[in-house]
Amino acid sequence: MNAFTKHSGVVMPLDRVNVDTDQIIPKQFLKRVERDGYEDFLFFDWRFNEDGTPNKDFVLNHPGYKDASVLVAGRNFGCGSSREHAPWALQQYGFKAIISPSYADIFYNNCFQNGLLPVTLDEVSVAHITAQAKEIPGYAVTVDLENCVVSDNEGFSVSFSLDEFKQYCMLNGLDDIGITLQDEDAITAFEARRG
């Protein structure tokens, strides 16, 4: 897994609540057996018109957000299915971090499995970052996982919290399976105990 320590990047505002995983990556792309190559399918139905041309009204297609690598979105981001294709698509498109007031459980966990950082901030901070990203061309933030701070060049700075173990794994790019297997004896003992 990729380690995440600190990232600065342009912010793309997706000013909607309850963005579900069916929107992040529609089902027709889940038949692929690969783990990569999902970037072109991210937000597919919002992003492209019926004839395959880019939908100019969708924020991802605005030239100003072409190089965005931080996504800011409304509450309950990633609700719906367990498809890990959702964080894969976001990450492969180029997003390194997401900022939202809240996430659906499975999506949130899936992000950490892939080194994509979901930052949870209060509604007011999210609204502020969203407004700035809409107004200021090239508006960027820095997400610092070591110190748990999101800041910009305009003097804004806010701290966030997350599970310490998740933070530790992400900072070090640790693979969950590797960690668990270090304690394989405990699994064997458990199995022996239960017969």
């Binding site: 089902k27 399976i177 304690d183 458990f190």
Partner: protein
């Protein structure tokens, strides 16, 4: 010290190791696998030269991609073929039981687990699928996981988890006439909101739940995720044991009775304390259906499409506006005046024998409206067989419904079954997200009875006017 909840008891019995500040390592008793969320996990195992620790606790089925039409013909979609072959090869290589689409054990993953008796009280059950919560209806802790976690379970037979909070949803009184478990869960989601259960495991309690069949309990638990909860559960009781008795993979004879004695210890202690409690007054419930693009955008059949301006929260208002736009609905339209084009009776929420019987009872002797296309997709091969033995297929076919082979079908339309852009469906599935049943399709979630009635009338109807 207060007593333990059922969730506490199951959790405590499955802790392999725990350390302060770290997620616990929890043992998994049953790992269900399907074609869509497993390919990359098996590839990951190969890459790391790891094996599957307990193939004997793992079972796989093909459900999402498979066609529901004539199975003797080859599958047309080459990418679906590739995905199904991937799973066939993976399960062969790692020695895992696999029910492909020609197997009599085939069906939707959340239908076949309980049907074959693999789903049992007290187990920890996982699947790379958010509707794994279904299995909680037996008093199991069952939760959906992502593909990385699927790989983790394959390799270690464990899951790393922080312990969830518990929420009791207590349903007082019996369900009134014409109100089904589907209506109940839609009403619950409407009340707690689609993120109301985030971080919680829900335990459903109360008279309405106790009086409910296993099929009904599965419908309720199935949609826990639609309320944000990763798992839902119901305490096992005589209804549970009767449903399980004699199934292929439950203990047989005296061993079953011994198992029952153990399962009887699972229900939450009387003095157990939940982190949150929600009370539902069953008597006040009516048949429910969704009007918007998430399962929380729901109302009763006697209601109308809401006016977005009636929402206090600006984000909810905007979300309602977007939903009405997508759904092509006018505010204040009575729900019974919404015409429909398609009907889908199926999915892991409502495709079990009791669901099909309920829909057939409504369809019997009636005809599907001439402008509606309606299909019934049983949840498994076994259910299809049983329904045919009971003559339900004849009732549906006579009424003008299509009678299909088992699978996920138009619940998420990964196979050829889908809505055309602009088509409106009455669907017994669990998600009405934009495009879920086909790009541009408009989904209203309903019970099997309400779906069958809508097929016949050509618009939504209050099923209570028809029954009794």
């Amino acid at each position: 010290m207060p007593g333990k909840t059922m969730f506490d008891k199951i959790w405590d019995a499955h802790v392999v190791s725990e350390e302060p500040g770290k997620p616990s390592v929890i043992y998994v008793d049953l790992h269900l696998v399907h074609e869509v969320t497993s390919n990359q996990a098996f590839d990951g195992l190969r890459l790391a030269k790891r094996g599957v620790r307990r193939p004997d606790l793992t079972m796989a089925t093909a459900d999402h991609d498979i066609p529901t039409t004539d199975r003797s013909k080859p599958i047309e979609d080459p990418i679906a073929v590739q995905q199904l072959e991937h799973l066939a090869n993976d399960t062969k290589e790692f020695n895992i039981q696999f029910a492909d689409m020609h197997s009599p054990l085939n069906g939707i993953v959340h239908v076949v687990g309980p049907e074959q008796g693999n789903t049992q009280p007290g187990k920890v059950i996982v699947c790379g699928d958010s509707h794994t919560a279904t299995h909680g209806a037996f008093g199991a802790f069952a939760l959906g996981i992502g593909t990385s976690e699927v790989e983790h379970v394959l390799a270690t037979q464990t899951l790393r988890q922080n312990k969830h909070k518990t929420m009791q949803v207590d349903v007082n009184g019996p369900l009134p006439f014409g109100v089904t478990p589907k209506d109940l869960i839609l009403a619950i989601i409407g009340q707690i909101g689609i993120a109301g259960g985030t971080g919680y495991v829900i335990e459903y309690t109360g008279q309405a739940i106790r009086e409910m069949s296993m099929e009904g309990r599965m419908t309720v638990c199935n949609m826990s995720i639609e309320g944000g909860a990763r798992a839902g559960m119901v305490a096992p009781d005589e209804t549970t044991f009767e449903y399980m008795r004699g199934r292929a993979n439950v203990p047989q004879g005296d061993a079953f009775d011994e198992a029952v004695e153990k399962w009887k210890l699972l229900p939450s202690d009387d003095d157990a304390v939940y982190d949150a409690v929600v009370t539902i007054d069953a008597a006040s419930l009516e048949p429910h259906l969704t009007w918007g693009t998430n399962p929380g955008q729901v109302t009763s059949i006697t209601g109308s499409v809401p006016d977005p301006s009636s929402f206090a929260d600006p984000a909810d208002r905007e979300s309602a506006e977007r939903a009405l736009d997508y759904m092509a609905l006018e505010a204040n339209t009575p729900m019974t005046e919404i015409p429909i084009d398609r009907v889908f009776i199926g999915s892991c929420t409502n495709s079990r024998i009791e669901d099909l019987r309920a829909a057939a009872e409504v369809a019997k002797g009636r005809k599907v409206s001439s402008h509606v296309g309606a299909m019934v997709v049983p949840g498994s091969y076994a259910i299809k067989q049983q329904a045919e033995a009971e003559g339900l297929d004849k009732i549906f076919l006579d009424a003008g419904f299509e009678w299909r082979n088992a699978g996920c079908s138009m619940c998420l339309a990964m196979n050829p079954d889908h809505l055309e852009p602009g088509e409106r469906s009455a669907s017994t599935s669990n998600r009405n997200f934009e495009g879920r049943q086909g790009k541009g399709g408009r989904t209203h979630l309903v019970s099997p009875q309400m779906a069958a009635a809508a097929a016949i009338a050509g618009h939504f109807v209050d099923i209570r006017d028809w029954e009794g």
